[in-house]
């Protein structure tokens, strides 16, 4: 019997690795909330509800050559590309060993050169033109690789979205633009953000393919990103992919989402949570049993426990380094 992932050319191992990324992202995110509510870390910005899109897309990329320019919810993407739970914890505890920024940036502002994770910052969607530039360099160097960048649907209204995608389209650059539509820009719902049904409808304005995918279906996302990557490598230019899911948490640990949406709406969204639906799929295709799920969770829990403890005990940045890295050392 063939099943969906085999039809897409994914091995059982590959699909289980994808699930592991989803689950690790979720469990790590949940732990961050606990630490925040316990007063141990100052801020959390969540991936919950978007893990399937992140893990599905990442599974279609080549971590050895592709560049990712994630946005702040992309815990699933960066875990797949080689950031460890301990590194995530070091960032959240603002410790010196945080690879993103040595404990200087807000959590979720991912950057790790050796993993081809390109740093961004809080002004949204500014990474879109960066991805276009990275892709132009890839094209000029004739590299078989793509730049993959993500952003929320709210930030797709920013000028940088247009300027970056336009530039990439004009030059037919190997970029995948992926909008993780989670239905809310902090408190503003979709119908107050867009006058089109899908962010991907905007692709037509750039003469590139646009596709809207169920963001709770990691296999569908995998398939879309895989096709976009192949297209980019054939020299046919960028693609715009929109993954539609739902932000299951408040915008951040400082937000109260009950002021602008109902508990019923959130509960309804939880019924299509990919952590549930995709686990069912894996059980149906006999890749996972309830016992297997529990074993996997225990294993991940142990990794997160260890990461938390290590980060908590790690040192803060050395005050004498405050002025470093503004310019190349000794050259200002």
């Amino acid at each position: 019997m063939t099943n969906r992932h085999q039809e897409l050319g994914m091995s059982d191992e590959h699909v289980m690795e994808m699930y592991r990324t989803m689950l690790t992202a979720r469990m790590l995110d949940e732990r961050l909330w606990l630490l925040n509510r316990a007063g141990k870390i100052p801020f959390v910005i969540s991936c919950q509800g978007q893990e399937a899109a992140q893990a599905g897309a990442s599974a279609a990329l080549d971590t050895t050559v592709d560049y990712v320019l994630p946005y702040y919810r992309d815990l699933g993407v960066v875990l797949h590309f080689g950031m460890t739970p301990e590194e995530v914890m070091l960032s959240n505890f603002a410790r010196e060993g945080d690879p993103n920024s040595g404990g200087r940036q807000m959590p979720g502002h991912f950057g790790k050169r050796e993993s081809n994770i390109v740093t961004g910052s809080s002004p949204v969607t500014t990474q879109v033109p960066h991805a276009a530039g990275i892709a132009l360099a890839l094209k000029q160097k004739k590299k078989e690789a793509v730049a993959f960048t993500t952003f929320g649907e709210g930030s797709s209204n920013q000028g940088d979205f247009h300027e970056g995608i336009n530039f990439a389209s004009v030059h037919q650059l190997p970029v995948i633009f992926m909008c993780e539509n989670n239905k809310y820009a902090i408190s503003v719902p979709l119908d107050k953000q867009l006058n089109v049904e899908h962010v991907s409808d905007r692709a037509a304005a750039y003469g590139i393919p646009g596709e809207s995918i169920d963001g709770n279906d990691p296999l569908a996302v995998y398939d879309a990103v895989k096709r976009a990557r192949e297209r980019a490598l054939r020299g046919e230019g960028p693609s715009l992919i929109e993954t539609v899911s739902y932000r299951l948490t408040p915008h951040s640990s400082d937000d109260d989402d009950m002021t602008y949406r109902s508990k019923e709406e959130v509960d309804q969204a939880r019924t299509t949570d990919a952590l549930e639906t995709f686990r069912h799929y894996l059980e149906e295709v006999s890749l996972l049993t309830p016992e297997g799920e529990e074993a996997l969770r225990s294993e991940i829990r142990a990794v997160i426990d260890e990461a938390t403890e290590a980060a908590e005990q790690a040192s803060y940045p050395d005050p004498t380094t405050l002025m470093n890295h503004v310019y190349e050392e000794g050259n200002s």
């Binding site: 920024s101 950057g111 033109p129 960066h130 276009a132 360099a137 970056g164 530039f167 470093n324 503004v326």
Partner: protein, 328 residues
């Protein structure tokens, strides 16, 4: 070393030719810089020599230009960006200030951006309002950026080479009045003038003038007039790199002269002159015989066409400031 008598515009153009020849990873990006050779003709001939893949006519979108150049620099290229006029940089301000300037700091040196953003600036060429602004103060409040403003063809070429070689982003400001104002002997070979070092262009013992761009010439004119009319000896410092600027040269000079006047086209309030004055006060107060004078643009948007002559600081206004300091 052979030299030619060329304008600042030719010097910048020549420096770009040389950088493009030296390093195939160097690219030019901007609006109308290709076949058109740029609205001021700064990139004249580069498209013909290096072709469309290295001299890229971009869409009219400054955030896109600077943002994609950041991506290029992140991935091994050395972009040289032309922003048509400095005041047209505002749509790209976020990319320059929030990203280009901070990549190194934010990532503890994992990523850094060797890139140059060229921008013509300044009034006096009958360009209305936004074509004439001197808004360097926005950028000298931005640690991580270096800001350079040459005052003559020789410096322009040498500073440009140093800017492109620098591993960090450099905003290279080109005073439009100087583009074709005068010629100077410039070596045909490439050479560098280090960033962050001012030049004493005229020695003197009674007062220190600090200026950059076309204001250096006005300062020198004022110094010559004061010498002739009053017998006062003014030293003139061309700052050349305006951020981070060369405090030592200024302080050393003020300790010698005991008086100072700073001159810039930018608006007076919050202008770089205020910072230079503060530095002098912090480090050389007891040497001062008079308050530091500021000769600056007025706090109005740059007026249009003929009225701009009333706005622009010139040798006459500098001479008044010198007189004030000398007779304090």
């Amino acid at each position: 070393m052979s030299t030619r008598n060329i304008t600042m515009l030719q010097a910048v153009n020549e420096a770009m030719h040389e950088r493009m020849e030296m390093d195939s990873d160097t690219l030019l990006l901007g609006e109308d810089i290709g076949k058109n050779g740029g609205v001021f003709r700064a990139t004249d001939g580069l498209y013909e020599t290096f072709g469309p893949s290295r001299v890229i006519d971009t869409p009219l979108a400054e955030a896109g230009i600077i943002g994609s150049s950041i991506g290029l620099a992140l991935n091994g290229k050395k972009p040289i960006v032309e922003i048509q006029f400095l005041a047209f940089i505002y749509p790209g301000f976020e990319q320059l200030v929030s990203h280009a300037a901070r990549m190194r700091y934010r990532t503890r040196g994992q990523f850094h951006l060797p890139m140059v953003i060229r921008a013509p600036y300044g009034a006096g060429i009958r360009g209305p309002e936004l074509h004439s602004e001197s808004v360097e103060s926005f950028f000298v409040q931005t640690p991580g950026l270096k800001v350079v403003a040459p005052g003559n063809p020789y410096d322009a070429k040498g500073l440009f080479h140093a800017a492109v070689k620098d591993p960090d982003p450099v905003l290279f400001l080109e005073d439009t009045k100087l583009y074709r104002a005068f010629k100077q002997d410039v070596p045909a070979e490439s050479y560098e003038i280090p960033l962050g070092k001012a030049a004493v262009v005229r020695e003197g013992s009674d007062l220190t003038m600090v200026a950059w761009g076309s204001m250096v010439r006005e300062a020198v004119k004022a110094a010559e007039r004061m010498e002739k009319e009053k017998g006062w000896s003014c030293e003139v410092i061309d700052l050349r790199t305006i951020y981070p600027f060369d405090r030592e040269t200024i302080i050393e000079s003020v300790k010698k002269t005991g008086r100072a006047a700073v001159m810039h086209e930018a608006h007076k309030t919050g202008g770089l002159g205020a910072e230079i004055t503060a530095v002098i006060n912090e480090e050389a107060l007891v040497y001062l015989r008079a308050p530091v004078q500021r000769v600056a643009g007025y706090d109005v948007p740059v007026p249009q066409f003929m009225v701009e002559d009333l706005y622009l600081p010139d040798a006459g206004r500098m001479a008044n400031a010198v007189e004030k300091a000398m007779t304090f």
